[in-house]
Amino acid sequence: MSGEETASDADDAAASGGDLRQNVGRRFARLPDTAAEREVEGRATREEVLDWWETRFGVEPTVFDEYTFWEKGAGKIWALAGDVVSPIEVEAIGMKVLRTRQEHWKPTTDAVQRFGRDATKNVIELDAEDARAFAAGEDLEPDWDGDWGYLIGAHEIAGGVEPIGVGLFTHGTLRSMVPKGRQRDL
């Protein structure tokens, strides 16, 4: 096992701690398509998830055509390429992409790396030095006149702009949200 295969982010550690205490934490349920089909109060719908990616980052809904979305516990949303029976009791299904049920929805680092290439707005392109600091989890004070809130931090590499992770922009500061286990000293 190489060194890079062992890390785990704090979120996951907390989640599996919960799993050990109560099995219900392993139960995933498919998101309803629309609010009219919603059976669990407060659960996001597929429509809302697609709308959020499009409104916030300009990611076209068609990017997710082959995906189903799943909620585990309250507010953690997972994306699966394909479909399975619902509910389903497993450790994980697809990729954890989003935290909902709070005022500001927050995407995961892994989700913006996977789907953020299709983003057309709220992407902040960092220069080489800032990109390294962002990947190391450091805060930046970039020139940014756009929206506040969660942004996709990206940089130019090997002939294209590539998303690095999520940053929270407020009051002139971009806080790197790259989880500890994903931070790198590049």
Partner: protein, 315 residues
């Protein structure tokens, strides 16, 4: 090295074998085609002045001239994954297709799982199982870092693996629901083993070696492979692999399932130098078809050691 002496009768050039076992392995990575193609990764390494050498049998496997691939941008982006060259063989031999349902029976920490997902173009359903919850969290971390979205992770004893969570037969679910999983198209059984073949990475691996350990792990291997055959569709394919040289954990396991289950060992395309499976060992003889298995010794391709066989489930 002493436990390796027992293999002297099996290995043609035994001195070359021992020499290779004593040489450390250089650091290899696999290009994760879910997130980047080989050319883009090469460009990124060129720009960063990191040298690389592709494996001659697989352009996605690169040996890097850095000891810390984890501190490169391609790693941060999940474009590459640290994985020993020979360990990239079993998923290639299994050859899973996009849209299929595939079982990875002993999946953690996920190097082969994520490679299977990439070979499936991240489409279909890949069920990654392991009995060790701690190692599963490493698998989940790796899968998410590499952008895998077609995987369901389970924490079961593979020997008694149940498809019930996926809505199989005994469930009250609708019979016509094609989201239910009744059986897999393919399975990878990369079995827990004594890991003798990893000696170039872990020189201490033989310190704990004993014949008792070999026998006890062989029992587990037979149990997992049996369950994989039962959980795979008629005509489906299973790859059985280990990173050990012991026939008790390799050919003897195949011989066991050939007797107890409806399956056969089939020809496989192994693009690395290798020796055939052995049919005689320690007063035992095995079914002649186990010769179709591949024994990859460290001196063959300058890699770690591996065993790999392909089975077809009876129709």
């Amino acid at each position: 090295m002493e436990p390796l002496e027992r293999y002297r009768p099996l290995i043609d050039d035994f001195e070359a074998f021992l020499d290779a076992c004593e040489r450390p392995l250089s650091s290899a990575v696999r290009v994760n085609t879910i997130k980047a193609d080989v050319d883009r990764v090469r460009t990124a390494f060129d720009d960063a002045d990191v040298g690389y050498e592709p494996a001659d049998w697989n352009e996605r496997v690169l040996t890097l001239d850095t000891d810390s691939p984890g501190t490169t941008w391609p790693s941060m982006h999940g474009w590459i994954h640290g994985q020993e060259e020979v360990s990239a063989l079993p998923p290639v031999v299994l050859d899973p297709q996009p849209g299929e349902r595939v079982w990875d029976a002993a999946a953690a920490p996920g190097s082969k799982t994520t490679q299977l997902a990439a070979l499936m173009d991240d489409r279909g359903l890949l069920v990654a199982n392991d009995n060790n919850l701690g190692r599963l969290s490493a698998l989940r971390f790796n899968a998410e870092r590499l952008g895998v979205t077609n995987v369901a992770v389970t924490n079961q004893d593979a020997r008694n693996f149940s498809l019930k969570p996926f809505g199989s037969a005994s469930d009250a679910a609708d019979d016509a629901d094609d989201r239910r999983v009744e059986a897999f198209d393919r399975a990878l059984v990369d079995a827990p083993c004594t890991c003798e073949g990893t000696i170039r990475k872990n020189p201490d691996v033989l310190d704990e070696w004993s014949l008792d350990h070999v026998s006890s792990v062989a029992g587990v291997q037979k149990g997992i492979l049996t369950r994989a055959i039962q959980a795979t569709k008629p005509g489906g394919t299973i790859v059985y692999s280990t990173c050990t040289f012991a026939p008790e954990e390799n050919e003897a396991v195949l011989d066991h399932v050939l007797e107890t289950e409806d399956c056969r060992v089939v020809e496989q395309d192994v693009p690395m130098d290798h020796a055939p499976g052995v049919t005689e060992w320690d007063d035992e003889s095995y079914d002649p078809s186990v010769e179709k298995a591949a024994r990859i010794y460290p001196h063959h391709n300058d890699t770690g050691g591996f065993f790999c066989a392909t089975l077809e489930v009876g129709t």
